[in-house]
């Protein structure tokens, strides 16, 4: 291997967030004209790495060599100036401006005196678009383009900066098969131009169709990095999944009662494309899906937080009104949202007040809340769930993530429910609290509830579920019983 060919090298990079080691000692090198795939489960560290390379995050330790020289990035603008362009899933375009204006956004060609040289701007844009075989009018407004065309504009922007490295974060997740084909053509053009490409994806078939090398991340570490010719899908999946920890989560109860919730053909305008399944009393149904599969959308649609375009819901044989959260709540549905602070907690209120929010009515007489009864009940749950808080009146804002999550769980334990939907119940929570929350999920089911757990964490999924449904692109693409489910089968269904 010619050493000079390496354009970007990452050495022993480490990045820690409170409670999580996102990257620990990662080495990676990328050559000119190489398309390297980065794969791994959610939370494996891919996104953290590309955000460090984009200048969004600062690394804790380690070094980055770019064209053989150490690279220090202080902002996203820095990385672009140095020749590293990251195309995120959320495109960074100014929709109201033209294609050409976006391509040269940071460096408009100017006439003497400072006016923008529109002719040069449009001509050079045309040249750049031509170099990747793209037929787009430079004066068109970006807002009138398809997502796929907008992506191309982002790539063209990289070329206007003479980027030497282009990093793409799941670029195909919102594209049709035809658009994916033309994207691949553009990426191959970039390769011919000698640009090194890091390609983050969940879809393994893309890896083998497009990439030269596949690098697998797991738990913040680089597990393997091989030329695609020397590996295969099974080997990559094994590297991604790695461990077997199915015994970590004891699922003690698995009785299955009558049908509690029936979901039929549920669809939304954006994401869900007809989802049907049933959940029974005392059953934990785990729903797995990779980023963008539609898990959270499903939870919100069932609860009525998002408008539903088609389908119906039945609760114990009775039709449930769609799109009304107060109706769902009173019918006995509970929802633990993925976004704890944004959608779950009322940060200004106390621990007790947060716990009793859905059930405070039970403590009221003539419309007035009997604080003593409320506090007694809250205290009971603080003890039962071992919530660490100085007092019941303490603002919930000041608790740790794990304890906040327990407050939210207590909220639903206090209320008489039929169905509870838990969306990523252990995200961002340390291992100890995780195990406690898994135990609670088990207890909830034992109490006769129908429990739905939406998760992107494979071990959690296999540990807590009686039955597993797999989602991909807004559909259910697989169903497995507890005994037949394996990580490989689930992942295969998730990337279908």
């Amino acid at each position: 291997m010619n050493e000079n060919n390496v354009i970007l090298e990452v050495r022993r990079i480490t990045k820690e967030f409170p409670g999580v080691k996102a990257l620990s000692g990662v080495d990676l090198s990328l050559r000119r004209g190489e398309i390297q795939a980065l794969v791994g489960e959610n939370g494996a560290g891919k996104s953290t790495l590309i955000k460090i390379l984009a200048g969004v995050y600062k690394r804790d330790s380690g070094e980055i060599l770019f064209e053989g020289a150490p690279l220090e990035l202080h902002s996203a603008h820095d990385s672009l100036r140095r020749g590293i362009k990251v195309v995120f899933q959320e495109l960074a375009l100014v929709l109201q401006l033209s294609v050409a204006e976006n391509v040269f956004l940071e460096s408009f060609p100017l006439k003497r005196g400072g006016a923008i040289d529109w002719r040069t701007l449009n001509r050079r844009t045309l040249e750049i678009l031509g170099s990747i075989n793209l037929d787009l009018n430079p004066t068109r407004k970006v807002s009138s383009l398809t997502i796929s065309q907008q992506q191309m504009v982002e790539i063209a922007r990289a070329l206007s900066h003479e980027a030497k490295v282009v990093i793409m974060d799941e670029p195909t997740s919102a594209l049709t098969p035809n658009e994916i084909r033309s994207l691949f053509e553009v990426i191959r053009r970039l390769k011919v131009l000698g640009i090194g490409i890091l390609y983050v994806t969940h879809k393994l078939e893309e890896v083998f169709e497009l990439c030269d090398r596949v690098t697998v991340f797991r738990d913040g570490q680089l597990v393997s990095s091989k030329p695609v010719g020397e590996t295969n899908t099974n080997a990559v999946v094994t590297d991604m999944v790695g461990r077997s920890i199915s015994t970590l989560f004891p699922r003690t109860h698995s009785g299955r009662g009558e049908t509690v919730l029936g979901v039929r053909g549920l669809a939304t305008d954006q994401k869900l494309k007809g989802v049907s399944f049933e959940v029974h009393a005392g059953e934990v149904v785990g729903i797995f899906g990779l980023l963008g599969a539609g898990r959270t959308e499903l939870a919100k649609a069932i609860f009525g937080l998002d408008p539903v375009s088609a389908g119906e819901l039945e609760l114990r044989g009775r039709k449930l009104r769609l799109g009304s959260t107060s109706h769902s709540a009173h019918a006995g549905l509970g929802l633990l949202t993925e976004d704890r602070k944004g959608e779950g907690l009322v940060l200004q209120m106390s621990v007790a007040q947060n716990m009793t929010l859905p059930s405070v009515r039970e403590f009221a007489r003539f419309g007035l809340i009997r604080t003593k009864a409320e506090n007694a009940r809250s205290q009971e749950y603080v003890q039962r769930l071992a919530i660490k808080t100085p007092s019941l009146r303490h603002k919930v804002e000041y608790l740790s993530g794990g304890n906040q999550q327990k407050v939210l769980l207590a909220r639903w334990l206090m209320k008489k429910l039929q169905v509870i939907i838990l969306d990523e119940p252990t995200r961002g929570i340390d291992v100890g609290a995780k195990a406690e929350i898994h135990k609670l999920i088990d207890e909830l089911a034992k109490g006769g509830l129908a429990v739905i757990v939406l998760t992107s964490e494979m071990p959690e999924l296999l540990g807590v579920s009686d039955r597993i449904l797999v989602m991909s692109s807004g559909r259910i693409t697989g169903e497995f019983g507890r005994t037949e489910a394996t990580q490989e089968k689930i992942l295969a269904a998730a990337i279908a």
Binding site: T325, M349, Q353, I369
Partner: protein, 328 residues
């Protein structure tokens, strides 16, 4: 991580923890300063005078506090106060019944609140804009209804007493204020509705997930707020003894300034009635002080403007300090 407490941070942290105490200190300090200029300020007559003048803004401030707690605002109450005054006086003139006139005024308030609430929840128009529109509609509406002031042709004793009468030594507006204040103190601090107000303003999604009908709650709060403003309008028309279509100008800003000064957050989810009472009275004392010190009365508007900026600035400081506390 420990935070090194600079003096500025200590101050803002104190603002969070002891907001009401600081406000009381400001109130006392202002009173002392004005009394030095003119000892008459501290007389019982002047204190009752200040409280009676404050009663309208405090009563409307109760509603405004509840609205701000849910994350909404109402700028139409100044125009509403004028319209209520004109309608109340007109109806009493026509029916010779004080009760019917007052009822008509309150009904106008409730209907305005309903309209504001529906515009906010059904048409999804931001309440800042929606109620500015309502302010224009009501002000134009009252001019269309009556271009000139409606004079008192009925000479009803009951009507006169609403704004000018006494209960023992206590002016009736102060009594009205005290009763409404205590009732809503209970509502906000002890009732289910009060809890739901805070939850709705603090995190609307969490409130919805907990089964609170956020839209209905907001509509009801708009109605309560406008009806309380209508009570202030009835007191005002009685005190002026004529229904003036151009009255109540700037009333909404006086109320909002007082409420924010009292520690109610513009962002929703936070606020106390105690703070509102003190905040509104501070605004009144400033205005009263300007008169009693014999300064140019136009200063009142200027000073109110500065106080509004100061109040919002303090609100921001509080929010910042809070976000810093989290990182400990």
């Amino acid at each position: 991580m420990a935070i090194t407490a600079t003096r500025g941070q200590t101050f803002t942290r104190a603002l969070i923890l002891f907001n009401e105490i600081i406000l009381v200190l400001v109130l006392v300090l202002l009173s002392i300063l004005i009394s030095i200029g003119n000892p008459k300020f501290i007389s019982l007559a002047n204190i009752l005078n200040i409280l009676r003048d404050s009663s309208m803004a405090v009563i409307a401030g109760i509603g405004m506090t509840m609205l701000l707690i849910t994350g909404e605002v109402d700028l139409s109450i100044g125009s509403l106060v004028a319209f209520v005054g004109v309608v109340t006086m007109d109806i009493i003139n026509k029916t010779q019944s004080t009760a019917l006139g007052v009822l008509a005024g309150l009904a106008l308030g409730a209907l305005t609140g309903l309209a504001n609430g529906l515009v906010r929840t059904k048409l999804k128009v931001n309440s800042l804009i929606g109620t500015i529109a309502m302010m224009m509609i009501l002000r134009g509406g009252v001019y269309l209804y009556r271009i000139a002031a409606v004079q008192n042709y009925h000479q009803k004793e009951a009507f006169f007493r609403i704004g000018n009468g006494y209960f023992g030594f206590l002016p009736i507006p102060i009594l009205l204020m005290a009763v409404l204040y205590l009732v809503f103190l209970l509502v906000i601090n002890k009732s289910l509705a009060g809890r739901y107000l805070y939850a709705t303003g603090g995190n609307p999604t969490a409130a919805r997930i907990s089964g609170i009908n956020v839209d209905r709650l907001k509509i009801l709060t708009f109605i309560a707020s406008s009806t309380l403003a209508a009570v202030a309008g009835v007191i005002l028309v009685s005190r002026m003894n004529s229904g003036q279509p151009n009255s109540g100008q700037g009333f909404e800003l006086e109320v909002i300034s007082g409420v924010i000064l009292g520690g109610t957050s513009l962002g929703g989810g936070e606020g106390t009635l105690i703070g509102t009472l003190i905040g509104v009275i501070i605004m009144r004392i400033i205005n009263n002080g300007i008169i009693i010190l014999g300064w140019n009365q136009d200063l009142q508007i200027v000073v109110s403007g500065f106080v509004l900026i100061a109040a919002v600035y303090l609100d921001n400081r509080r929010k910042n300090a809070r976000s810093k506390i989290i990182t400990i």
